[in-house]
Symmetry: C2
Subunit: 145 residues, 2 copies
Amino acid sequence: MNRINLIALGVKDMNRSMTFYKQIGFKCYEDAENPPIVFFDNQGTKLELFPLEKLANDINEADPPAISNQGFSGITFAINTKTKAEVDDLMTLAESSGGVMVKKPEIVSWGGYSGYFQDPDGYYWEVAYADTWKFDEQDMLIIEP
Amino acid sequence: MNRINLIALGVKDMNRSMTFYKQIGFKCYEDAENPPIVFFDNQGTKLELFPLEKLANDINEADPPAISNQGFSGITFAINTKTKAEVDDLMTLAESSGGVMVKKPEIVSWGGYSGYFQDPDGYYWEVAYADTWKFDEQDMLIIEP
């Protein structure tokens, strides 16, 4: 496991956010008004760890944003597995490594098997599997246009 | 521009977080104690937009986490460009598309040229360039071990 399949941003106005990301150059096949969810394919991404206060200063040293990383920030990361057992294994591993199991894996409304953990700073990660999924050569979900 | 080069998590205890992510399977070359920053290479990642309240319910419908996406959540996304002009162009485009310029691009302490914007929901994005950078075939930064 060395990938992040999805970064999900919780948005308040789908059309507004979809238009914003399309305008700044992200490509997606979605052209409906107000779709329930939108995906943008991307090339590889690095995960980076950076001391929290320093990252706030990196954003603006003269006027750093107030840090409020308690509760749910609106951002989640997701790892999609190829078997149901991998979900259980990774959730167990996350918990024994210092994470917190927020939702035990279960069959969810869209038919998949999904759980959530929080990392040591409280960031949310979903681990999910569905037997209908197809993957590309980089183990990324193929979402049909 | 159809990529996210970096997802940065602001962390409170670098060793704790580095150990956590290594244990759950992310690979990095860093083996120093308490390094100033850590990068984990990944395969491709999709960016996803999801209605905020529904995403909180997806995490745990029975006990959704309290939403607190005001201020700085501790997470940033970064796009690394191949020219300085691309930084200015993308920052201008983000602003004219409904984003907010949080830090005008400037030469920063590590020698690069970097700015930050917020998307319509307030999520932070860095756009940065440095003339010392090398990229791989997916336009991902090559960070030497």
